[in-house]
């Protein structure tokens, strides 16, 4: 089993998207919670924003992160020819 340059590139792109999505995860979780008191000064749909993030906003972003990762990686597999199935 020999890894080609292309394989390494695949793994790097995987790490890059993982890092990026992890960054978003970090911001909507910890930064949003850290500044929850300040965010509460803003109102959205009747909710104070800090509360909204914890109760709904961050959750929606989590779902989106996982959805995007699955789509991105499943496409990336095909692009680099490391996908399962009809090869």
């Amino acid at each position: 089993m020999q890894l080609s340059e292309k394989h390494r590139e695949y793994w790097h792109r995987n790490l890059k998207i993982t890092g990026l999505l992890l960054g978003i995860w970090f911001v909507v979780t910890y930064v949003a919670a850290f500044f929850a008191r300040d965010l509460n000064a803003i109102t959205i749909l009747g909710f104070p924003l800090g509360f909204y993030m914890g109760a709904q906003g961050s959750l929606i972003i989590y779902v989106a992160i996982i959805w995007y990762y699955a789509r991105y990686m499943n496409d990336l597999d095909k692009e680099y020819g490391v996908h399962e199935g009809d090869d």
Binding site: M1, Q2, L3, H7, Y10, W11, N14, T18, L21, L22, W25, T29, Y30, A33, F34, A36, R37, N40, I44, L45, G46, F47, P48, G50, F51, Y52, G54, A55, Q56, S58, L59, I60, Y62, V63, I65, I66, W67, Y69, A70, M73, N74, D77, V82, H83, E84, G85, D86, D87
Partner: protein, 696 residues
């Protein structure tokens, strides 16, 4: 390959058809029970109907899925489509605590309770990004399997088994406890009997068909629990806002609650003044209890004896004065329950003082983050909130019974999609819980507060009659009107009483109970299977007798399942202390033991055996040590590190685990070529000349 794909598609279509019929059948069943209720069948019979019909249903699915194939028994034959694996994971994940307890926690702690909402959903991002696809590619049967293959030798595998069994066992006790409570409440059976009835329900699902049976039952259980959760909340939302989407509509209800909180806390308003009069009474009680504590500190047993005489004298005095029967009864009860010794008196009065103090405090604003008396206290609250979120998230991505589910999908791609579906189905319930909490709060703050005691709504008096810990209401200041400070609501009431608050018939209450039961049973199933598999597959097959034939492996596995289940039910029937702490502890322990070793196993090729051993031991050790020295139960009560609560011990355990791996790895040689190839193998869904680690 094309034929497997089309057979997968056919299987998916077939499953969709089955579960659509099933959902329709279940709705028809609920309607029939509703008609029976209308015809005058008593509530208790309806409760039994729900209990036995659902358990019978799960048993039926379990029986139809019976199998003698190892692959089917351990990983459901690896052909569970992403969507259905998502539902099964949702049911596996959402326990009695999520279904019944979560909304109550949010009702009581407002923003601070959101740590559980964020922690128990955000953790799936870590599952998706760091673990699920790689574990699926690895494709064996258990989590210790991965540790064993990646780090080599039996020691990492064995530590993995110990950690998996420890955290799953603490967690399963909480589930069986929930099963016992629900059965007891809705059928009138005793708690201990309820536990064993529930146990029968758990075993029929998993005994014959292992993971295959558990998977298909969990899908069925998810459907029941989500329907049961949504109906009352939607109804309540329509009642208060005329919008059938509670998750959107409750923002405006929250505004009203916030306004109401201000009025209740405003001593100059009419309502606020009445609240204040009740709070004053509680302040006096707290002061009295504290004065007694001080005296007790100073003069010990003499003071206790004097107090006991005083209590007895009061009974005599009341009797002599021909006071009303209730007052005499209360005084007699006080004598009867009088603490036996100084230690008991100390505990009792401390509890009284704390309880009264809590009641004397102003209303906590629901949406305010980290409410506290000053900035220092706010910082401590914020720190603990962030730490708890972190531990719950990492713990989510380390609990073996969840990770195991991603071995069951047909491919890596499906595993990735399946994490999305899992979180989506979990999200449906978790973003509804905060809405439910606010809607019930609105009902209590604006409709219950201010009514006359003579005209309490039916749900209040019903629940107060059933269980004082769930609903207690006393006219403290004797003005005949309900004040907020006079109401005590137990967390579990919020979900259990919602159908009645919303004015729905009893059949919906039965449905909610069935939902709670489904949540508890499905989680217990997954956990018991994890424990039994770790023992039978990892300890017996991989470590003791690698040549064991298939039939014997399955016999051992089933025997262990039975033993573990009975043991868990026995421990539960003893009613061990603080359930919520047990659950929290399981998360911190799993996070500290598994997460660093699993993630480094995939993302750091250099990580080796010594590193993994050191990391897992350090993580588990630090986490357990911190809980031991700070959790009051153990009686050490050492000062906390940076004010972090024992439930978040993982905040120290997780870094310790990573440091252990890094240090252990760097002081010993790099892993062998085979291990490095294994890492490449799990990183790429498909490689030419690839290894085959798939267990069969």
């Amino acid at each position: 390959m094309n034929t497997t794909m089309s057979s997968n598609q056919a299987f998916f279509k077939q499953l969709s058809r089955y579960y659509t019929f099933y959902t329709g059948g279940f709705i028809a069943f609920v309607i029939v029970v509703g008609i029976l209720e209308f015809a005058g069948v008593p509530n208790k019979i309806l409760g039994y109907l729900f209990l036995f019909a659902t358990i019978l249903l799960y048993a039926g699915i379990g029986f139809m899925s019976k199998t003698a194939d190892v692959g089917e028994y351990y990983v459901a034959g690896r052909r569970v489509p992403a969507l259905f694996n998502g539902m099964a994971t949702g049911a596996d994940w959402m326990s009695a605590a999520s279904f019944i307890g979560m909304a109550g926690t949010l009702y009581h702690s407002g923003y601070d309770g959101l740590a559980f909402i964020m922690g128990w959903t955000g953790g799936y991002c870590l599952v998706a990004l760091f673990l699920a696809p790689y574990l699926r590619k690895f494709g064996q049967f258990t989590i210790p399997d991965f540790l064993g293959a990646r780090y080599g030798g039996n020691i990492p595998r064995f530590i993995g088994v110990v950690a998996a069994v420890t955290c799953s066992f603490t967690y399963v006790i909480a589930q069986i406890y929930g099963v016992g409570i629900i059965t007891a409440r809705f059928t009138g059976l005793e708690f201990q009997i309820g536990v064993f009835v529930g146990l029968a329900g758990i075993l029929v699902c998993s005994f014959l068909g292992g993971m295959k049976a558990v998977t298909w039952t969990q899908v069925a259980q998810y459907i029941i629990l989500i329907v049961a959760y949504m109906i009352p909340v939607v109804w309540l939302s329509v009642k208060h806002t005329n919008v059938p989407v509670p998750q959107v509509a409750y923002g405006y209800v929250l505004q009203k609650v916030t306004e109401r909180e201000k009025v209740l806390n405003d001593k100059t308003s009419e309502v606020g003044a009445k609240e204040e009069s009740v709070r004053q009474i509680f302040r006096d009680r707290a002061a009295a209890a504290e004065a007694k504590l001080k005296e007790l500190e100073a003069s010990g047993p003499t003071f206790l004896a004097a107090e006991k005489d005083k209590a007895a004298a009061k009974v005599a005095e009341l009797k002599a004065a021909n006071a009303d029967a209730k007052a005499i009864e209360a005084a007699e009860k006080a004598v009867k329950d009088f603490p036996a010794d100084v230690a008991a008196a100390k505990a009792q009065w401390k509890k009284d003082a704390d309880g009264a103090k809590a009641k004397a405090a102003p209303v906590k604003p629901h949406a305010e983050a980290f409410p506290a008396k000053d900035d220092a206290a706010r910082d401590v609250a914020k720190k603990n909130f962030l730490a708890l979120v972190f531990c719950l998230m990492v713990g989510t991505a380390a609990l073996p019974h969840i990770l195991m589910r991603f071995y069951t999908t047909p491919s890596v791609q499906e595993a990735r999609r399946s994490v999305f579906w899992s979180l989506f189905f979990i999200f449906l319930l978790y973003f509804t819980a905060p809405a439910l909490a606010v809607l019930v709060k609105y009902e209590v703050y604006s409709n219950l507060v201010g009514t006359a005691f003579a005209q309490l709504p039916a749900w209040v008096s019903n629940w107060a009659a059933v269980d004082k810990t769930l609903m207690a209401i006393t006219d403290i200041n004797k003005d005949g009107i309900v004040q907020l400070a006079e109401i005590t609501i137990g967390g579990d009431l919020v979900v259990l009483a919602t159908p009645e608050i919303a004015g729905l018939p009893y059949v919906i209450s039965g449905l909610v109970a069935a939902g709670g039961l489904a949540a508890a049973l499905s989680t217990a199933d997954g956990l018991l299977l994890t424990i039994a598999n770790a023992l039978s597959h990892d300890v017996y097959y991989k470590m003791i007798d690698p040549n064991a034939p298939t039939t014997r492996r399955l016999v051992v596995s089933k025997a262990l399942l039975l033993v573990v289940a009975l043991l868990a039910a026995y421990v539960t029937s003893l009613k061990p202390g603080d359930i919520l702490f047990l659950v929290g502890a399981a998360f911190s322990l799993a996070a500290s033991a598994f997460f660093p070793a699993l993630v480094c196993g995939v993302f750091w090729k250099r990580a080796n055996k010594l590193g993994a051993i050191l990391g897992m031991l350090a993580g588990l050790g630090i986490c357990a040590y911190y809980m031991y020295i700070t959790y009051p139960f153990f009686g050490v009560n050492a000062p906390k590190w940076w004010d972090i609560n024992p439930i978040s011990a993982g905040i120290f355990g997780i870094p310790a685990g990573f440091i252990g791996i890094i240090v252990g790895t760097l002081i010993s040689p790099a892993p062998s070529r085979e291990v490095q190839e294994l890492v490449d193998h799990v990183r790429y869904p498909n490689l030419e000349g690839d290894l085959n680690t798939q267990g069969s």
